[in-house]
Subunit: 249 residues, 2 copies
Amino acid sequence: MQQLSNGLKGVRLHQLLSKETHGHLQTSLENTRAISTVSLWPFSSQPRDFSQPNSSWSPEMRKVYDHYNTLCDPDTENGEEKRGPWRKLPSYNRSIKYAAGGIHLSKLIQAKARLFTRNVKEQGATFEYVVFVNKEEKRCVCVFQAGHLLEGAPGHVHGGAIATMIDTVTGTLAGFLSGPIMTANLNIDYRSPMPLGSVVLIHSALDRKERRKTYITCKVSSTDESKLYTEATALFVSIGVGHLFGSRN
Amino acid sequence: MQQLSNGLKGVRLHQLLSKETHGHLQTSLENTRAISTVSLWPFSSQPRDFSQPNSSWSPEMRKVYDHYNTLCDPDTENGEEKRGPWRKLPSYNRSIKYAAGGIHLSKLIQAKARLFTRNVKEQGATFEYVVFVNKEEKRCVCVFQAGHLLEGAPGHVHGGAIATMIDTVTGTLAGFLSGPIMTANLNIDYRSPMPLGSVVLIHSALDRKERRKTYITCKVSSTDESKLYTEATALFVSIGVGHLFGSRN
């Protein structure tokens, strides 16, 4: 903890601190849905939720989205709404402003900074994705459509783009379960090349927690889960909330 | 080998096959420099080399670039030019067309596809980098400036963006040493968060070769190498050149 408090040494501050998972820092697991309607955004206008369906989504992407989105609907029993374990998480393109690294940045860079996975305006060009989390089973699933600007080998998705989604999804789950965290390790096995334009499922689950360490497993597969593209493990280390706000003053 | 020949199973086809390292497939190690001037680009106009200095480069980026670029200059002894072990590699934004995945892609996606690390037109916004390789010592160094669109945690570079550069640099070295390869594993330890706007060195070196496997080590540090940001190992598996061209017909 000493080490972490001292200049964030040891591990990388995770995007949990970004606006994407901002809600986790301020709301309990019980009212995640409320983030979508009651804004915690500190600026004047409501931000765009990038995980909403748009015209670039293929029928396959839309179908899988609809499947999981329906799981988020409440059941009505005896006139009372009953919520299941599934929640859809919103996704924004801007980080919150209490940047630990703010001291390193020019004002210009701060103003223009955008979340890596949401930095291209053209819909469908890069990362189209939405994350659904199941709090009871301590797991989440991301539906990801890989755009044409993510090319590595000809016609295939860059390994770095796949790693980016793995970091994003495992980090979102770790933050959901453990609060503020930083990525300490990603270990990624590329099993099969992923064609550009693919729609895939990224399943992440809690492996175990050991004090400040949260271990997450991850599998990237075709939407029917018949083809495995990538497997990974991820380790996140918890950091104190006070630490996040420490550099605000 | 059977497994690899059969639909590229087992590992991810690396960006070695992209235009970025296209030259490696067609030239020997002896005339790498010639790629910059004698185009192997299959289209009509000369492509832009994205690794040339531009106005977005900070003085620090430019200084380190100049240092390594000077190492690439030939010495003149007794009126004869003598080349040292260092070479600068060019970097383009488009993949070559014999895409193994081409069968999966619509013509639209094929035409618009861009290398992930070179897909944003605004200079300085994302990945500014240049790779220098030392063939005698079987290592390379990349100078990388992280732009404001690579944000993960507030004010810091996204772990996926760092993973992307590690895949790119280790894959470039592996391809240089072993010919056509695919990424099979990346194991990344994030030691310290990297502020947005940082200029860093990415050193990669051959660990060992075992038949079709090439093991590469990687360290990401500040330019004076006093601060370690990330350490990684990478495993690449060789694929046959015939395989690359197999899907052309």
